[in-house]
Symmetry: none
Subunit: 223 residues, 4 copies
Amino acid sequence: MTPIAEPTGRSLRKDAERNRQRILRAAAEVFRERGLDATLDDVARRAGVGVGTVYRRFSDKETLVAELFQERIDELVSAAEKACEADDPWDGFVSYLEYVATTMAGDLGLRQMLLFATYGRDRVAYLREQVRPVVDRLVTRAQQAGALRADFSATDVPMLTAMLATVAEYAAPVQPGLWRRYLRLMVDALRPDGATPLAPPALTAAEMELVVRAHSSREATRR
Amino acid sequence: MTPIAEPTGRSLRKDAERNRQRILRAAAEVFRERGLDATLDDVARRAGVGVGTVYRRFSDKETLVAELFQERIDELVSAAEKACEADDPWDGFVSYLEYVATTMAGDLGLRQMLLFATYGRDRVAYLREQVRPVVDRLVTRAQQAGALRADFSATDVPMLTAMLATVAEYAAPVQPGLWRRYLRLMVDALRPDGATPLAPPALTAAEMELVVRAHSSREATRR
Amino acid sequence: MTPIAEPTGRSLRKDAERNRQRILRAAAEVFRERGLDATLDDVARRAGVGVGTVYRRFSDKETLVAELFQERIDELVSAAEKACEADDPWDGFVSYLEYVATTMAGDLGLRQMLLFATYGRDRVAYLREQVRPVVDRLVTRAQQAGALRADFSATDVPMLTAMLATVAEYAAPVQPGLWRRYLRLMVDALRPDGATPLAPPALTAAEMELVVRAHSSREATRR
Amino acid sequence: MTPIAEPTGRSLRKDAERNRQRILRAAAEVFRERGLDATLDDVARRAGVGVGTVYRRFSDKETLVAELFQERIDELVSAAEKACEADDPWDGFVSYLEYVATTMAGDLGLRQMLLFATYGRDRVAYLREQVRPVVDRLVTRAQQAGALRADFSATDVPMLTAMLATVAEYAAPVQPGLWRRYLRLMVDALRPDGATPLAPPALTAAEMELVVRAHSSREATRR
DNA sequence: GATGAATGAGTATTCATTCAT
DNA sequence: GATGAATGAATACTCATTCAT
């Protein structure tokens, strides 16, 4: 784009950034389609760069995956925020669940990341850290509006999304939207009327932390 | 054949059988804890035998995994049958869900087998073949008793159990019974009164077959 | 594309090409001396590179073997063409036999490739495809000159060369040229005068195809 | 067979000998059909005994193969002797060649043993030791009768048979008798009339010894 | 900085051989 | 003696990661 001259300095950094983006985009595609078993060579090829370049930008496969995950988290956070501003608190809440499930339904790599402790389980901890406050608000808001049963907890949300991800994973090749059926089912159960007391109680935030940590430490032993 | 005498050959078989059991036990542990990526060398080490011995007993990693899976299937089928004979059709239905969730809780290998079809996808087909009729009965029975909403389908059952298994897996180290909370939630939704129409519709039996098959072919193309 | 400049990438390719050649040379030696059972690790060691490098250049053991074989084919075809242009049709014919026998002498791998079809049987088919027309001409030409008995067939040529190669293989370490003795013997028999009718008839081209195919399928069933 | 009593002593040895024969027979079949790559487990299975028994009778796979080879040698020697007593010296000579080629044509293992230096090349040395005197006689007799060209040597015989084995190997699956065609060809060349002087000269007996030794020592280095 | 070549530990599986029963 | 169970070194091939150009 910049015609002549300027061979060093800024243009290089611009190139670098462009490559970084390319790689992230390529990785997102590749992992989405083929799961986390895909090779970094595959990613590099799709990005149109050499593997070396990938390693220059991301010290590790793990790191690259984590970076991608972070992108999803960011998107998730803004989705949650947007959902918080919905006119109807209940609709906001449900639309957030829908958003998460939709995202996961279309992304094999993401599902593997969430459902199996093979890659960077500790990222999930970080995710919760980020999203939690917003989700808290989302839940409280719906409950205060009397639309969501009182014994529902913010820590239930990640569990529900994991459950939907499971369905998505299972049905992905045949009926990618099947998870909506189970979202409906849950939603029916989440209304305050006629609900049976839930037991055991939801995880506390601290317990939730533990859950996630337990997963990652198990991970640590593995390799 | 001859129940008396035959002191030779028999004692050998005893040893062999002992090793076979050791291997199965070791494999169950290893795959449960570390998933299906675990090596047969790992299994052998855990069992305290050489790899060759593992291969003498199980022609394949695939075969070994399948054998383990078969054990679970058998248990599942009898659980379903027992559930069918419960006095209260609804209780029977719920207790089956409980049984399956409990079984899958904490078994990473089992979940991988069900969700990602690297090993023994045909086995999953077989599993469904075995359990389906009993589950059909279980569901019909609960619906005829007016205890289960009419738009619920037998193909919903594996989905629900997979969902519960996901929760179990997540929470296992901290709160192993957490999945019961979500079982309650679902159960609330499954009652016929006040239910919202479910959409999309449940998978037909044929579609369910496809889901399973699709997993294996996806797997095939992946490599 | 641009023949000037481009100092990067090119020098790498030089290295890579050098290694490729090293590997091919090493493979030629190893397979020649120790047959096709030799390991690619052996080849790598001889070439002074890691196994990975071998696999980077040749996707398969099969492929590497085929590549080596292809080199021989190319040489063979040009030898046959040159032989076709000899002033004396008979001398041309004989010199071709000499060439082939010389080439195969002492190359255990090459002989295994021709006799036992573990690797690159399709290549043998391809070889025949390539050489056959030229050999046909070579034979016809000698027969039309009245120098070669009429019941000789082009499909006899590979058989004769295989036979000579066998002798060469046997005698290589002691008397590398011994095969010439048997070439003389055959040549005596190939003259048209005083020849006994040959039975059974030579293979037809189609049968020859079958021979080659049969080897591969036999191989297939064996494992 | 022996009814009661006599549990130790002779009957055991009889059993052992019977097993030995069974194993040899089984090995002959298995190696004939599937070549020397066949497993000793395969042999044991075919023989209806355990592998352990095979190892009790034959210290080694190599040894078992050698033993089989010896059987063939013995048969070969008697064939040669019988051929020596033929009324027509020439016919005797040719029938010997036919006998050897026929034997090899039907036996993949034998061909591998003879054509490739993978198994027990030194056995070939031994073979020659045994057969040489008879073959000498066979050749001399035919030459004295004026039926065989004078420059033919006894050391040419193993070469001719190896050549025929090559054809047999090649054509085995499609046209197992094709070697006869080339035997005819050679026979035409072996008549004394109209023969071109053969060069280089045949191997001397000493050289032949060297050839064989060279093969086996090459073998030694391999493992 | 970018490239892609090189590396080698790691994986599933086989088979000759040994040894407990 | 016979059995077949156990062993483990060996083989083809992959992929995350490093490094020379």
